[in-house]
């Protein structure tokens, strides 16, 4: 058995940390695209569509992310696909993120006073024009702080991909621990890695929120 120096551990964690960052970016970008489409459909759509999207959101918010990952992984096998941990983790985290972002953004669009809607319609703007020029710019300002805040949940969520064999920061930690058996040091370092990624985002989200409410918009 080889001896692990602290630098060996740190280096391996840093290498695996890349995949935590990449998976977070995939989940967040994918989730934002799907989430935006769902939000727009939900705002304007017909009743059955709205109802379906609500069900989608409730399903993802009311079940464990770990189960969603298992279902993506095993579900694909049932459908006859042989998916990698990469694909299963990306798909599950993208859907998970889209459901939460859809819910956050719907709240932001609804927070724009209804008088704004009525005024723009009365002024002769159609649905899309009102959305594009009046509602969305205002909703966007409200949406930024909670969206940044949620990105922290996405990063933390990627840790669960370790369970289906995706080698990112957490999985690298358990693998290193099996070889080096220094659990206290290793998991403290793993936690520190996530903290470095998440804490600045948390602080930034809080700062944005203060700025927004300081500006007197509610």
């Amino acid at each position: 058995m080889t001896d692990f120096t602290l630098w060996d551990i740190v280096r391996n964690l840093l290498l695996a940390g890349r995949w935590t960052v990449v998976l977070s970016l995939i989940a967040f970008a994918g989730g934002a695209i799907v989430g935006l489409a769902l939000t727009l459909l939900r705002m304007g759509g017909l009743k059955p569509i709205r109802w379906l999207i609500r069900l989608y959101v409730d399903l993802f918010q009311g079940t464990p992310l770990l189960m969603q990952l298992f279902l993506a992984y095993f579900g694909a096998a049932v459908l006859g696909f042989d998916v990698s941990a990469w694909t299963a983790a990306s798909v599950a985290l993208t859907l998970f993120t889209s459901a939460f972002l859809c819910d956050i953004w719907r709240g932001c669009v609804e927070a724009v006073p209804s008088g704004q809607w009525q005024a723009s319609r009365v002024l002769g703007l159609n649905y899309l024009q009102s959305m594009r020029h009046v509602i969305l710019p205002q909703a966007l300002r409200l949406a930024v702080p909670p969206t940044v805040g949620f990105s922290v949940q996405v990063i933390k969520g990627t840790a669960l991909a370790s369970v289906i064999g995706f080698v990112e920061l957490t999985k690298a930690g358990t693998m290193l621990n099996n070889a080096a058996f220094a659990p206290f040091t290793i998991f403290a370092l793993v936690a520190f890695g996530y903290f470095i990624l998440c804490y600045p985002l948390s602080r930034y989200a809080r700062h944005l929120e203060k700025k927004l409410y300081g500006a007197g918009i509610r």
Binding site: F181, P183, A188
Partner: protein
Amino acid sequence: MTLDFSTLLPYADVILEGLVTTLWLTVVTTAAGITLAILVAYARDGSPTGSRRIVSRLLGGYVEVTRNTPFIVQLFFLYFGLPALGVPISATVAALLAMILNLGAYTAEILRAGIDSTLTGQHEAARALGLSRLQSFRHVVLVPAFSRVYPSLISQCIIVMLGSAVVSQISVFDLTYAANFIQSRNFRGFEVYLVVTLIYLLLAVGLRLAFEFVGRRLFAFRQGGSA
């Protein structure tokens, strides 16, 4: 592709056992986590000075570290790390500890938001009327703050219940562990996880209804009143 749920039936007792574990973990965590959060909020309340200030700083660190690291890492840190330091800990105790510390940190932050939105004048008025710091915190600050943030509190407890699926990874026999166990026997992964996911969904809905029922009893004095 065919789905076959009948192979699950012989394992009904396994699922039940896991369900019971998930339930009691959630109930104990909710009670202990909220208590912890109240203590933390009390220690950090106001503008502490001297040694209280150091405690307040440390608690702030605990809250931030917990909120900015994944639950699964916290769990591994406690379960694998504490024995290495000479503190033996069982999987169940590690799971419970991790869940309580996690809920405690999030709830402390939620409570703080509620406390911050209480007018400082009320606090000062209570002190001027001769209430002690503890009395004023309990009657004037805590209860209104609690009722104000109660919806966030419900969501957080549900998040922790759903998050508890992760304790299966340190071999606590919870609902997810039951699913993994059955999957390893009948090789019907998708069916098992689908059923167990639905059970989690029902638990989440049930938990929300139970909390709302308790909330209506607890904060009945606020209904129809001002605010």
